[in-house]
């Protein structure tokens, strides 16, 4: 047991938690943007999977990381566009649209991989490129913090930047305001002349773009190849992180970090003597507990607010 505690309080643990947070964080931010516009994007898992594949293919065939990134990004946008077209234009249920995209992704990625590489599981026969890791000059030299914060993948830093950008975009920018007003009350927004459908299109596309980086981090950062079903439910965990994030980018970041830690914990807890099946459950149990806790807290606050209001109304 002390060994486990030591590994949990080690620099590596925090470093690894940050790394495991990255894909979830990207997707959770994507889910956040869509959610604030009143759209539940359950297709994140599929977007991540597709982008993970096309990023690898693009970089392998062009020999350029930038082209690879572009391929992954365009794929994410394209799938989001399909989802937007069917859910907004054709009025399909957004949940079903997402389920459909995820279905297409699980089989479609294997189909594409097989057609191109003749391999149904991994893309190791291609030499694809990887986003570089970055040493941050000054921070690197700080004793403990340097080891935790420096030397991460470019995309990990980008995900942190994305938190700030998404926060600023949603809370401070004009399009962000539109997204929020559409999400809060579409009819009211329409009545003041906001084009609801167009705003939702934009939000979904942005959501797809963010999720695509999450996918590319898996195949071009964390690993150096595409592997069948490599998202392994991270798109769904991202939905949970967003639900816990209280609708803000900062909250979503912290919620994603909690999952990163839960996953890192499920790595560290291995070999403690617990049956491995219980250790494997940790991230998912953490998610449900988080949801319950969050929902309970929110309910309490609501009750208190209501009580407060009633008291106010009661007093002369």
């Amino acid at each position: 047991m002390p060994e486990v505690l030591r590994s949990i309080f080690s620099v590596d643990f925090v470093y690894s938690a940050l790394r495991l947070t990255t894909p979830v964080l990207f997707a959770a931010l994507g889910s956040l943007v869509a959610d604030r516009a009143g759209v539940t994007n359950i297709g994140l898992e599929g977007i991540m999977l597709f982008s993970a594949l096309t990023g690898v293919l693009g970089s392998a065939y062009s020999g350029s990381l930038f082209v690879g990134m572009l391929c992954g990004l365009v794929t994410g946008l394209f799938i989001a566009l399909i989802m937007a077209y069917f859910s907004l234009q054709m009025k399909a249920d957004i949940i079903l649209t997402g389920v459909a995209m995820n279905l297409v992704a699980t089989g479609g990625t294997v189909f594409i991989l097989y057609s191109i590489c003749g391999d149904k599981s991994v893309s190791t026969s291609l030499s694809s490129l990887v986003f570089p890791t970055i040493e941050i000059p000054l921070i690197r030299d700080i004793p403990v913090l340097g080891d935790i914060l420096s030397g991460h993948n470019l995309l990990t830093y980008l995900s942190l930047v994305a938190v700030v950008v998404v926060w600023f975009f949603l809370e401070k920018s004009k399009p962000g305001l539109r997204i929020r007003s559409v999400g809060e009350n579409a009819h009211a927004a329409e009545s003041v002349g906001i084009h609801v459908r167009r705003v939702r299109y934009g939000a979904l596309l942005l959501s797809g773009a963010l999720a695509s980086f999450g996918g590319m981090f898996l195949s071009m950062g964390m690993l150096t190849y595409f592997s069948k079903n490599m998202t392994a439910g991270r798109g769904y965990i991202a939905l949970a992180a967003q639900a816990l994030g209280n609708g803000s980018a900062i909250g979503t970041f912290f919620a994603s970090l909690v999952f990163g830690c839960a996953e890192a914990l499920s790595v560290s807890l291995q070999g403690v003597g617990l049956p491995p099946q219980f250790v494997q459950m940790v991230p998912y149990v953490a998610t449900i507990l988080g949801l319950v806790l969050y929902a309970a807290l929110r309910k309490n606050t609501k009750k208190r607010v209501r009580k407060h209001k009633r008291r106010k109304r009661g007093s002369p």
Binding site: F86, A92, D93, G108, F111, A240, F278, Y294
Partner: protein, 380 residues
Amino acid sequence: MKHRTKDRPLPTNRQIETRFTLIRTLVAVGIALAGCLILILVVSEEPWDAFVAFLIGPLESGKNIATVFETAAPLVYSGLAVSVMFSCNQFNMAGEGALYIGGLVASAVAVKLSLPIVVHPILALLLGGVAGAVVCAVPGILKIKLGATEIVSSLMLNYIVLYLGVYILNYFLIDPAAGFPATERLPESAQLPTLIPRTHFHVGTILAFVLCAVVYLYLYKSKQGYAIRMVGQNEKFARYSGIGVGGTILSAQLAGGFLAGMGGASEVLGSYTRFQWVALPGYGFDGVIVATLAGNNPLLVPLGALFLGYLRVGADIMSRRSDVATEVLSIVQGTIILLVASKLFLQHIKHKYIVSVAEKRESLAAAAPEAAPEGGEANA
């Protein structure tokens, strides 16, 4: 009346609606299959043979048709489960976990208890269903009590149920002599008898189709079913008309979970010799496809499930006989869901038709005012 006998009576709006739902589904299927053909043309050396194997293969022999039915059976169970939950507007994805745990509990009953024939499988099926109901109730309770979104909690719950199940399998039910993670062979007394030799067409397959009628009666003829549909259509309105929304939501989840759990049990008892699932079987999401195809109507669920079963058997035969990978199927399925779920797909044609019918009706009414009520009666 006589002067109009050669014309067919004009359809009512409701008939037009039903007819167009059918047409839309068929067109969606057609488009998806056409897309599939294009994909096959791109990747295959012998596209035509592959396509023929895909479409004709499942109908070639009686055995293949039976295979379509047995493939459809678990899809019927999960399609029914999802239909009930979706009718209540609850996007509970725990059907997947419910099906898994249903299979596990049923096989535990089969292996650990020794009971006489008939009683044994019935008890296993029922307990499997109960276990499924418990699983599906969890996201429901979380939603009612705390307002936690059922989609997210149910997706997470599936993984928890899986790992719990694998633990139970590994430590309590495993047969060390098997040389792989599986229970002992299910005793004959607990198995669902096979009806057509050399297939897995078993009693549970029939039961699945019978259940469709039962669920239809539950959802459309019982008071609780009415409440479920009311809550699904408009929760606020249901609340105002005095329906206990929380209880209704929970009962929909319980019913859905029970059906899914029983599906898992029937699948294991009928088609397997040992319980050996160490990954989620995937029927839960298939249920979403079936329910979408069936428009959440239990009576149409068998059609949706059979169609999906047909596609799957076809894809398998195709991959056996040609160079096309089975995975092409998931693209077809996705496309079908997208198109069928699109409320506005082919909408303009429907509108045009409704308008033209209305115009005809009006002109008829203008020409023969006394015939109109009769025509209306004939249509009703």
